[in-house]
Symmetry: C2
Subunit: 505 residues, 2 copies
């Protein structure tokens, strides 16, 4: 036991240092997206490759394996839910994973994805897929090497999925998603048949950028994001990055003639940020101080964005404030009309601006294409064509250009293949957790209408954030809600909300 | 020779990597000053301490010493001005220096100065020296340990000076500065006796911040700072930080009722930035791709700020543009009155806002106090009192509070003791180099009046920036101007310019 304790302490000290080193890369990555001049990209790629190599090297050092082996099986980890047991279980998983990846590959990925992100940003702004194609080809090639080195699951795509959502498989997702799709298609049909449509002009009036920024900050602050330990900036693609205890960065983007974009983007990222700020700082750098998975992370962002931000109760509190902030746009508008407009269900090109109902169809398209890219069934050069064909099939409309099609998302440029499915998982988790919160926290609608968001935030802090990686995603949902994951809560939520909005209940 | 070449190549590869790692800390340091929320300071100090420790550890590895020893004395370095010889000479110097510093001390300094800078910023904003005192005491204590470990020169202060201006000594500076002081005191006396004063109201009118930022960017760009490879932000204390090839960051600060502050601050930092951008990127991370010393760096910033920016010829080009940008403030003002106002000579509290004549007296005060702090003749607790007394003696006025006195500068909070004297050295170098540029480049005044700054910039690129550390500061000045450093050029410049302005020629 004495030796095991010593080994455990040494292990924790080292992994905390590695996490601190890794967090330097987060600062550099954030700067790259926010403020870096374009001339800086080459050197930035060298910096990030170096840091990626160093953290990989340190984490895959045989000493880590030795320490792990010394603790495993000892009394220190006999209670499987103790801090020590959880840390050792998850570190073992990461160690086994990382040791399979050669350092050269890790560094090359860091280098190529730094350059790839810049290339993507320019290609997207010019809607020029050809400019991005060689970068995506290189990145895809590296991701195939990564999947082969990992050798997890039945297919290369499984290996990548497992990185973002440990234990998840293509087969399981295919089942869950197809059950979901059937229900969604039926609901979309009913909505179209209803013939009802909100007046979208309301949200397309002039909303000055500085006022949007002010309003977004106010909302993010009130739902519980702490700006003494974070900030909000503007980027081409919104994201949230945690640098470590006390420093969590959000970004959003503004369209002066489309109000929902920046605000719901801000709330979405604030949801991620509230999770990050809710992690146990004492366990920083260890699994007990880390988030569970991307799917669980996304459940937090989607909950604040959709279940809170797009609810009628939320606007009972905030609509009068929005009217004061945007008197020209909203002075003569009713809350009901505004609420309907921010919940417009419609086939649209941009995933992050999609409504709650059609959103998951955007994910299904990417899920299918990623599998094809990874298994060789689709060449990078054919991505724009296949994207547009599939889009037409799913949504009945064709993107006017690649900026509104296959170039819209940053993910592939940073190597995030297998990442998209976690967004739909996040929607499913969010719905199931939110149903449970309604039971546990009391009348959430009444609270939101009174501007009280702390009860929900505290519940999430307690149930989801503070436990770190004590449970894997599926077990966590089971522990918190008493039920395994199901698509039923999401469908219930959508049918109730949109049934009422579109008069199809 | 084969072995020497191999050792040299391995050495260069390794020091380039170390430089890249060190440059990550520059990004984190810049972010700390510009955008970091206050909650992030503790973790940031851990990140920077870790990076400082890692770079120190790698650079002091005995392998570096072995490679150096293998190259030294070989044919590869027989020509003392070859790239190889210069790199080996300067790396040897740095290696011997760094190996004297224990890693614990290096890390503790990084940690304490990160926290110290935040504490300083708050203390300065509250004008509360007591809040900063314990931080300064800790930092001073660490700097004493650093000086003792280095053991360079006759006094602990010599050891610190040597870090910023290799080879410089307290004795030598005392001599140069006292010769300078006598001439300055005489000139200030003549200016006061002239009874002439500019109309300072001109520069104290309302200059909207966004217009100042726009004007400053335009000027910085036109004198040759490349914004594709850099940017300009706002901080409490202006600085320039080079992150590596292609990315150089400037900051400034704005006072809407004092025009000179932001513009000349911007030009000053742009001068540093132009040096950084002018370094040979092929030699990045090695002495041949580094700046010579802080004094030479400051010669570049002061040249663009004062010898260019505060010249009449410069305003012949830019004053009409300033009138267009600030029509309310400058529409009815003559260029002569404006030129006189931005060259007002007057005892003032803030160093960075001081005129060219009194500026060096601010440095002398700090030079004396730093020596006293280091040799134990002055306790930190007594700094405010002694500062104010000495200030009264030098300038005939007493700071109204510590924010305008001993808390005004960031330097001590980042451990930059021994840094200030390089500012006066910079003024001396600038004057001597500028005289030479007048001989070499042609009629600079005519060029400036026509908005042509590229000839001077190209001359500096060629003579000062591209050679990297080929020469030490004093040798560089001798090589470029054909004469050893002297205070005469600065005095000549000041007498000519201010003699004419104040009618005392």
């Amino acid at each position: 036991m004495g030796d095991a304790k010593q080994a455990y302490d040494a292990l924790i000290t080292e992994v905390k240092q590695i996490a601190t080193l890794g967090s330097c890369a987060n600062v550099l990555g954030w700067d790259e997206q926010t403020y870096m001049p374009k001339g800086g990209v080459k050197h930035r790629s060298e910096q990030l490759a170096l840091l990626a190599g160093l953290t990989h090297e340190r984490f895959t050092c045989t000493q880590i394996g030795d320490w792990l082996a010394e603790v495993e099986g000892s009394d220190l980890v006999s209670d499987r839910l103790s801090v020590e047991a959880v840390n050792v279980r998850e570190l073992r998983q990461s160690y086994d994973r990382e040791t399979k990846l050669p350092k050269d590959l890790v560094q090359e990925l860091a280098r190529m994805t730094t350059i790839g992100q810049q290339a993507w940003a320019e290609a997207r702004s010019d809607s020029d897929f050809a400019a991005f194609q060689p970068h995506l080809e290189k990145i895809l090639d590296l991701k195939k090497k990564e999947a082969a080195a990992l050798g997890v699951g039945k297919t290369p795509y499984d290996a990548l999925l497992d990185e973002y959502e440990p234990g998840e498989t293509t087969d399981n997702l295919t089942n869950v998603f197809s059950a979901l799709r059937n229900e969604l298609v039926e609901l979309v049909g009913a909505i179209v048949d209803s013939g009802n449509k909100p007046n979208m002009d309301i949200v397309k009036r002039l909303y000055p950028k500085d006022k949007q920024a002010e309003f977004g900050q106010m909302v993010a602050s009130q739902i519980g994001f702490d700006f003494d330990c974070g900030r909000l900036d503007e980027t081409a693609h919104p994201f949230c990055s945690g640098f470590g205890p006390g420093d969590t960065r959000l970004t959003t983007r503004y369209d002066e003639h489309y109000f929902p974009q920046a605000l719901f983007g801000t709330m979405h990222e604030a949801g991620h940020g509230i999770y990050d700020q809710g992690l146990n700082a004492d366990y920083y750098g260890t699994p007990m101080g880390n988030s569970v998975s991307l799917g669980i992370h996304e459940s937090q962002s989607r909950m604040w964005e959709n279940f809170v931000g797009r609810s009628n109760a939320f606007w009972t509190h905030f609509f009068p404030k929005a009217q004061t902030t945007f008197p020209d746009a909203l002075g003569q508008v009713s809350q009901d009309d505004f609420y309907f407009a921010v919940n417009n269900v419609e086939a649209s090109f941009i995933r992050v601006e999609a409504d709650e109902v059609t959103y998951n169809l955007h994910i299904l398209l990417r899920f299918e294409m990623e599998q094809a890219l990874m298994n060789g069934g689709l060449n990078v050069a054919d991505v724009p064509g296949v994207w547009n064909e599939t889009f037409e099939k799913y949504f009945g409309i064709t993107p006017p250009d690649d900026a509104h099609g296959c170039l819209q998302d940053i993910h592939w440029s940073f190597g995030g293949i297998g990442y998209f499915p976690t967004y739909t998982l996040g929607n499913l988790y969010a719905a199931q957790l939110f149903e449970q919160a309604r039971d546990d926290v009391g009348d959430l609608d009444a609270q939101f209408a009174a501007g009280e968001f702390l009860p929900l935030k505290s519940w999430l802090n307690e149930k989801i954030h503070k436990p770190g990686q004590k449970y894997r995603a599926s077990e966590l949902v089971d522990v918190v809600t008493g039920k395994p994951l199901s698509h039923a809560p999401l469908i219930r939520h959508l049918k109730t909300k949109f049934g009422s909005l579109y008069g199809i209940g």
